[in-house]
Amino acid sequence: MEFDWTEEDLSYRSELRDFLAEELPGRWEGATAVLGSADNAEYSRRFAGLLAEKGWLTPHWPTEWGGTGATPWMLAVLGEELWSRGEPRGPQYMNVNWIGPSIMAHGTPEQCQRYLPPIAAGDVIWCQGFSEPEAGTDLASLRTRAVLDGDDYVVNGSKIWTSYGDIADHCYLLVRTDAQAERHLGISVLLMAMDSPGLVVRPIPGMVGEHSFTELFLTDVRIPVANRLGPENEGWSVVREALSFERVGAPRWARAAHVLDETVRDAMEQGRSIDPVTVEAVGVAKTACEAARMLCYRVIDERARDLPPSPHANVARVAMVQAERLVADACAALQGNEIMRYGSDSDLQMRKSLAAGVAAGTYEVQLNLVSRRHLRLPKN
């Protein structure tokens, strides 16, 4: 047991910081209020291209597909540095972290040739067609139906809470291909072009700011069988594996810690006195970020050792949500009435902390998994 960074990791971090200091405008964080909007997607496309040129967009991919053999720790450093600056990769984040790897693992040679190079170049935006109006946390109850007709699936149904649906080129779509099978067994993954006839995308105005949501309506959308990822009716295990690739998900703690740091420094620079109760709130929030950091590192250590996914990832995710919320409270205490100013740090953090316990698996589901898999408490 030891907790030192290697020289290699340290120099990678400092190289990244130099690059970001030059590339990102001052307080990029402040500009991310509408991340997910078309403007920022364009920015992220350009930014991802720059990263790709430096080999930093898909460093963890195999060299065959443009990777540089980066270790899981270097990937963690990359994630921390980018998330702490508001994730300028925008929607590219999920492309490189799980959509690409999922295609690598289950795609045909043709699918790999077609989809991976544009992701590695930062040229393309994907969205994920998972949630439905009647299938949110209980995703396996999804009902969007795909029926085989010749060389195509004909797809009918709807998807909701789809981030980037209005700007994406492709969708990683979950559909039901066997309505009779036990619900986890009748699901397939289809890779859908977003310009497919019969697909209508409706934006959903949101208050969170981090993403602009959309709703997808599919009416007799024809998707070639050649676009199915993995075997028919085995989509559930394909997607579970895809989502476990990252294990612990985005390093939200790094962004929360950065926001807290900026907010404290602003208050100090403005010479505002910070009362003892607020100082305590700040200390507790900082602590929560630090705890989440160590719990995430434990998961990365497991990944670096090629150990199978463990419930430690769920423990880390719970800690990250708590950190986001405590940072929101601390920022609100630090900034007082500034929270009324749209786009202030405390306003943004309040919005983001709301999303933290919902996006990519709710807080309660994570607690279920911690209690069953980590504490091994009995099932009902």
């Binding site: 404290v264 305590e280 929560a288 009995p378």
Partner: protein
């Protein structure tokens, strides 16, 4: 980064656990008086003979192995001041044979181990003293699972040359956080066992989601405290030490309320072991506060506020 024990650490902890299986654990604490115990001089003697009490080199920056030993001792409810010896004394160039107690300079009143200590480490703002009381410090009746003495009117003198007060305070925080982690894990483990076995309404009460979520949050809080404490022991950084103690203190509030709540009246009984760990947390937290509010210290270490 390596979150697994190396073979040396594994061997040390195995040996400590073997020793504790004979000379530690809740049964031993019951023998010593339960929630009102005496000091376990016998355990200290055995730990010292085996070389476990000076596992950290004097002045060493990394005291990870010592923290691992301390967490194990605390998890077995040792009635010992080994924490101060394992993690704090390596900063100080002093020679003390028996138990030490540790208090802030301004402190008067109850302090763990004070009545049994050969010497007290007294931490001031910018100096550290080693006080050898000229008479035995009186015992205080306390029922929080520790031997406690009444500190008042300590003699002057005993200033340790060039002792870094801030560093000593940081290591005291690491020790307290580590001890809290051991005690919290004990409380959590016994509660998980209880709710898995105890049936009401024809089902294990641990299958109710309200209980599951409550314990899952406890577990996340304890894990956070554990890894921050170990990281602090590895780096010796004052900022991490303060964060570790903040996390442990916050977690201990959750653990105290919830582990007792899920035990029902069973948790109040002196025959049952839960209280031996939970009550200890209250004493550890109050000692933590006596070194300065942990969360405020965390903010101070990070931003100077």
């Amino acid at each position: 980064m390596d979150f697994t024990l190396d073979s040396h650490q594994e061997a040390v902890l195995e040996a400590v656990r073997t020793l504790l299986s004979r000379h530690g654990g809740p049964a031993r604490l019951h023998d010593l008086g339960g929630d009102e115990p005496g000091y376990d001089h016998d355990l200290d003697k055995r730990l010292a003979e085996a070389g476990f009490l000076d596992i950290a080199e004097p002045r060493s920056a990394c005291r990870l192995d010592a923290a691992l030993v301390l967490e194990t001792l605390s998890g077995a409810l040792a009635s010992s001041a080994a924490g101060w010896r394992l993690l704090v004394l390596p900063t100080l160039d002093v020679d003390v044979e028996g138990p030490v107690a540790l208090v802030a300079e301004s402190h008067s009143g109850p302090a763990r181990f004070a009545a049994d200590a050969d010497a007290l480490v007294v931490i001031g703002d910018d100096r550290v003293r080693l006080v050898r009381p000229d008479r035995r410090i009186p015992r205080v009746r306390s029922r929080l699972g520790w031997p406690v003495g009444e500190v008042s009117g300590l003699p002057e003198g005993g200033v340790i040359d060039e002792a870094p007060a801030a560093e000593v305070r940081a290591w005291a925080r690491v020790a307290l956080a580590t001890e809290m982690v051991g005690a919290m894990q004990f409380a959590l483990d016994i509660t998980v066992r209880h709710v898995s076995d105890r049936r009401q309404f024809d089902r294990a009460i641990g299958s109710f989601q309200a209980v599951q979520h409550g314990l899952a949050e406890c577990s996340v809080a304890v894990e956070g405290a554990r890894w921050l404490a170990l990281e602090a022991a590895f780096t010796g950084a004052a900022s991490t030490a303060a964060a570790a103690l903040t996390q442990a203190s916050e977690a201990s509030k959750l653990i105290f309320r919830r582990t007792h709540q899920y035990h029902g009246a069973m948790g109040f009984t002196r025959e049952y072991d839960l209280h031996l760990s939970t009550l200890r947390l209250l004493a550890l937290r109050s000692e933590a506060e006596s070194l300065g509010r942990p969360a405020a210290a965390c903010a101070h270490e990070h931003w100077g506020i």
